[in-house]
Amino acid sequence: AQSVTQPDIHITVSEGASLELRCNYSYGATPYLFWYVQSPGQGLQLLLKYFSGDTLVQGIKGFEAEFKRSQSSFNLRKPSVHWSDAAEYFCAVDRYESGTYKYIFGTGTRLKVLA
């Protein structure tokens, strides 16, 4: 079955340090991949998406992600983390089933930023 795995439940980094959040997917075809961010008590905001083409995609708020087919990974990165980046991050794959597209989400990675 198609799935999305985010191996790190919690990550703590210092402000100004670099960040990498891991995402692995299990999917038969080339998937459409997404990263969303969720601040406490709020909905999900789209950070970036990968459909095809250049495997390094740029998103909002200084985030980028790299699609690696050989590793079935779509890791999210940021060169310098800001305190406002503290939130929960979700990786998702778009799965086509029975005539509809639906997102399969990972379990999320909660990011804590130390001042």
Binding site: Y32, Y36, G43, L44, F51, S98, T100
Partner: protein, 114 residues
């Protein structure tokens, strides 16, 4: 432009009751999807509606139902509430059915079952 709006923001119900959650999509978006997010987990797909027709259903019991109106707004209904239905219910809209049209999420309705 307004984003996806959901109402109410919070709701407290008791077991066995029924609840209706509402969602207004981004203007021009014809597809609405509903997700359930239990604390500590990622969102789980419940339904997708497009042009007032159900186009997809996740692995949820028949106590869950939904509909979409001519103005593309949507309601999610849950009957015979159980403690396990306590969750954040998210609505997402997109311009169409295809995966190159990302979904935009509202802030959700937090449902607590006592």
């Amino acid at each position: 432009d307004a984003g996806v709006t959901q109402s109410p923001t919070h709701l407290i119900k008791t077991r066995g009751q029924q609840v209706t959650l509402r969602c207004s999509p981004i203007s021009g978006h014809k597809s609405v999807s509903w997700y359930q997010q239990v604390l500590g987990q990622g969102p789980q797909f419940i339904f997708q509606y497009y042009e007032k027709e159900e186009r997809g259903r996740g692995n949820f019991p028949d106590r869950f139902s939904a509909r979409q109106f001519p103005n593309y707004s949507s309601e999610l209904n849950v009957n015979a509430l159980l403690l396990g239905d306590s969750a954040l219910y998210l609505c997402a809209s997109s311009s169409g059915l295809y995966s190159n049209q990302p979904q935009h999420f509202g802030d959700g309705t937090r449902l607590s079952i006592l």
